[in-house]
């Protein structure tokens, strides 16, 4: 039975309709139905897409687009000008012992293959801001000259005290706990790069509106390092032996219970008020 209106269509139109119908069928047959399994699911080891890798492994500390995270903002033209590419790669591979940066390379116990590390380094170069051309940029690593803590203290009182002195609004950098948790290199990089995303200027404006020199930065770091408590220096040595970070993954439920916070090696920790509760930490 043909519907009435089908008969009323002219033969030429019918041909057109049939042609369109066939075209649709061919189109429908040529594309895969949505339920068909994808060829090979991309396993976490095969992913080399920068956004995927960064979003899965780095965004937690460095911020979702490389800034506004608690860790070093990587999407920063001064930082990218400062850090040599090979150091960036080594940092991802081996982490930074003594800081919160864990190692990521497979052979260091991390989750990333060598290919993925390279993909991250290249991705940072390609996707984010370009490094700035800065003529008087202090070198990344500390050079041979040693820092003068007294000189650094003068600089600190002049240039940093307003924001980072004890009780200042931005917060002290001389608190023993903070200094125990950061390395000299991290302090150096922080002073040079600043935190544009959080409002701290970089080295070009830190010296009362003028640039800090390489020597100035070294002196400042020497001054801050001189305030580091004795226990922290021991502790860093301990951290460096074992590699840092990622310890939490292996934490077992009963670990640490029955011990106060001050396991013996921390006994001399007087400056750290918040662990005053240690005396209460008896076995459960």
């Amino acid at each position: 039975m043909m519907p009435e209106h089908w008969r009323s269509i002219s033969p030429a139109d019918k041909k057109l309709w049939l042609l369109m119908g066939c075209a649709f069928l061919v189109f429908a047959a040529s594309c895969d139905p949505p339920g068909k399994p994808k060829e090979e699911p991309v396993s976490s080891e095969d992913a080399t897409d920068f956004q995927t890798l960064y979003g899965y492994n780095c965004a937690g500390c460095h911020g979702s687009d490389g800034k506004n995270g608690p860790g070093r903002p990587l999407n920063n033209p001064v930082y990218l000008a400062l850090i040599p590419k090979d150091v960036l790669q080594q940092t991802i591979e081996n982490g930074r012992p003594g800081t919160a940066m864990p190692p990521w390379a497979h052979d260091q116990g991390g989750p990333l293959t060598p290919k993925q590390v390279v993909a991250l380094v290249d991705g940072i170069e390609q996707n984010w801001v370009k490094p700035m051309e800065l003529p008087a940029l202090p070198p990344y690593a500390v050079t041979s000259q040693s820092g003068n803590a007294d000189q650094g203290k003068k600089l600190f009182l002049k240039d940093c005290f307003m924001c980072h002195g004890p009780g200042a609004p931005i917060g002290s950098v001389s608190s023993p706990s903070y200094l125990a948790l950061v390395s000299d290199q991290m302090l150096r990089t922080s002073i040079i790069v600043g935190r544009a995303d959080l409002g701290m200027p970089d080295y070009r404006n830190l010296n009362m509106g003028k640039a800090l020199s390489d020597q100035d930065v070294t002196d400042l770091v020497a001054y801050l390092a001189s305030m580091r408590p004795a226990y922290a220096i021991q502790e860093n040595a301990h951290v460096q032996e074992n590699g840092s970070g990622q310890g939490g993954a292996t934490t077992r439920g009963n670990e640490g219970s029955g011990h106060g916070p001050g396991s013996p090696r921390h006994e001399e920790n007087e400056g750290n008020k918040s662990t005053g509760a240690s005396s209460q930490g008896g076995p459960k």
Binding site: P34, G35, P70, A100, G171, G253, G256
Partner: protein, 502 residues
């Protein structure tokens, strides 16, 4: 044409096909049973037939060995022409079968169809329910991926807790003390030969009972079942409004069968097969095994169970439930059939569906599992970073680096195993935070050995900032905000306010 007619009569004389037709398809049913509510039983049977056909096709390719099961599924998925679709139809057929069977059971329960004289129809149906669930479980094992492996592990460890004969039962289930090659062969035999055979046998009995005891008439409120009078009443109904099943009552069954077939084929086309999801390797810890949807509720119940309820929920509850289901037609074999006069029955169904639904939802989302990529992938919300001191920022780093985020969410991202910490500073004082971090407790591991004092200091400093704007952090009640102690009595108050009263 005469010879054709003659041979047909000869065949019928030998095979009694006309009599078979008259007693099955042609049997009289109450006209009221030709209702949309009565389509689920035949649809369940249809699903079973689809499962048998697709299952037989899959068995041509599937190799039940630990080395090759996974590969043969990959072969079906990617190499075999439309092999993935065969798997998808089998998978969706099972989903539809369990769902429609549940609907059938609810309908029978609410329509009082299990009452006199159809007790054994219900009992055989309960055994079919058990067989179908056993098919679902063994079918999940056939996939032999991570879900299968861990599902089997959980099943075995539950079995192992049966008193006295636990280890023997595990041995029987797994064909050995651990999951190995024999385990898969055993489950393959169960899934392909034994349980389907049982189902065919019990379905035959189930159908025969439907034929001999008749299809339940559409219940009317105020017509209770009495053992003495029901048979006569049913005969009267058949006499007055009885119609042959074919062609009068089968129409809606056929339409629904069409809908089910389109549903299964369509879902298979759109959503595809399930898995296989990763090889069954117990050394891969970065896995999130989850059972198929019909077991999600059990999965959730087992995950959320407190210790002291384990024996009760694992052994006593299923036994009680099974005994209740089997005894139901003997407990309430007479009386009202209509759901309109059976509020307890309706509430029971609503309650059971709510419990199963909520548990299945929880099983699907499994908020109790830590989110293993939270620490590295979920950024700290920007408002918790802005305006923080260097120490607090470093505390946020400790928070991420020590994987606190895997269990505690910030800004709605991160694990849900522990409480969200967005406003933790309004709940815990600094000292309480230190104690909780170091000693753990309340399901939280102790981190005392994993954190240096400086890290604890930084972490707590960061957590102290986690509170709504303008809400101060909580303080100890023995440390008043105002350093001056309050006056203790009136005399002291007088002296504290020197000039006013004098």
């Amino acid at each position: 044409m005469n010879w054709l007619r003659k041979s047909a009569i000869w065949l019928d004389d030998r095979l009694h096909l006309t009599a078979l037709y008259a007693s099955t398809a042609g049997h009289e049913v109450p006209a009221s049973a030709g209702s949309w509510f009565y389509v689920f039983g035949s649809a369940t049977l249809l699903c079973f037939v689809i499962q048998v056909i697709t299952g037989a096709c899959l068995a041509f390719v599937y190799i039940p060995s630990t080395n090759e099961a996974y590969t043969s599924l990959e072969y079906l998925n990617h190499a075999q022409f439309w092999g993935w679709y065969l798997r998808a139809v089998h998978n969706w057929g099972s989903n539809f079968m369990v769902a429609i069977m549940t609907a059938h059971m609810i309908q029978v329960f609410l329509f009082g169809a299990y009452k006199y004289p159809r007790e054994l129809t219900w009992v055989s149906g309960i055994f079919l329910l058990l067989c179908t669930l056993a098919m679902a479980f063994t079918g999940q094992v056939m996939r032999f991926d991570q879900d299968a492996y861990w599902g089997l592990t959980i099943g075995a460890s539950i079995t192992g807790r049966v008193p006295l004969i636990g280890s023997q039962l595990v041995h029987l289930l797994l064909a050995g003390p651990i999951i190995a090659g024999e385990t898969l062969s055993r489950f393959f035999t169960l899934h392909v030969f034994i349980i389907p055979g049982l189902i065919i046998a019990i379905v035959s009995m189930h159908l025969r009972l439907v034929l001999t005891k008749g299809i339940n008439e559409y219940p009317k409120p105020g017509h209770p079942v009495h053992k003495a009078t029901y048979d006569a009443e049913y005969a009267e109904i058949l006499k007055k409004e009885g119609v042959p099943f074919v062609p009068h009552a089968i129409g809606k069954d056929l339409i629904f069968a069409g809908i089910v077939i389109v549903g299964i084929l369509g879902c298979a086309l759109i959503f595809g097969p399930k898995g296989p999801g990763g090889p069954p390797n117990p050394t891969l810890v970065d896995t999130n095994p989850r059972p198929d949807f019909y077991f999600l509720a059990i999965f959730a119940a087992l995950a959320l169970l407190p210790d002291w309820m384990e024996v009760m929920v694992l052994f006593i509850a299923p036994a009680v439930l099974l005994i209740f289901l089997l005894a139901l037609p003997f407990i309430s074999g007479t009386g009202e059939k209509s759901a309109r006069r059976r509020p307890v029955a309706v509430l029971l169904v609503v309650f059971a569906m709510l419990v199963i639904g909520v548990l299945a939802y929880m099983g699907q989302t499994s908020p109790w599992s830590p989110q293993m990529s939270g620490w590295s992938g979920d950024a700290i919300p920007v408002e918790y970073v802005k305006g923080r001191t260097p120490l607090e920022l470093h505390g946020a780093l400790v928070f991420q680096n020590k994987q606190c985020r895997n269990c505690h969410s910030l800004g709605g991202q991160g694990g849900e195993r522990g409480p969200a910490l967005d406003s933790v500073a309004t709940r815990l004082t600094k000292d309480e935070m230190v104690r909780q971090v170091i000693q753990g407790g309340g399901n939280m591991p102790a981190y005392g050995k994993k954190l240096s004092p400086a890290e604890v200091d930084a972490l707590v400093a960061f957590m102290q900032t986690l509170r709504p704007k303008y809400v101060p952090p909580v303080r100890n009640s023995d440390k008043p905000e105002n350093p001056k102690p309050l006056p203790r009595d009136v005399a002291e108050l007088r002296s504290a306010l020197p000039r006013m009263n004098r």
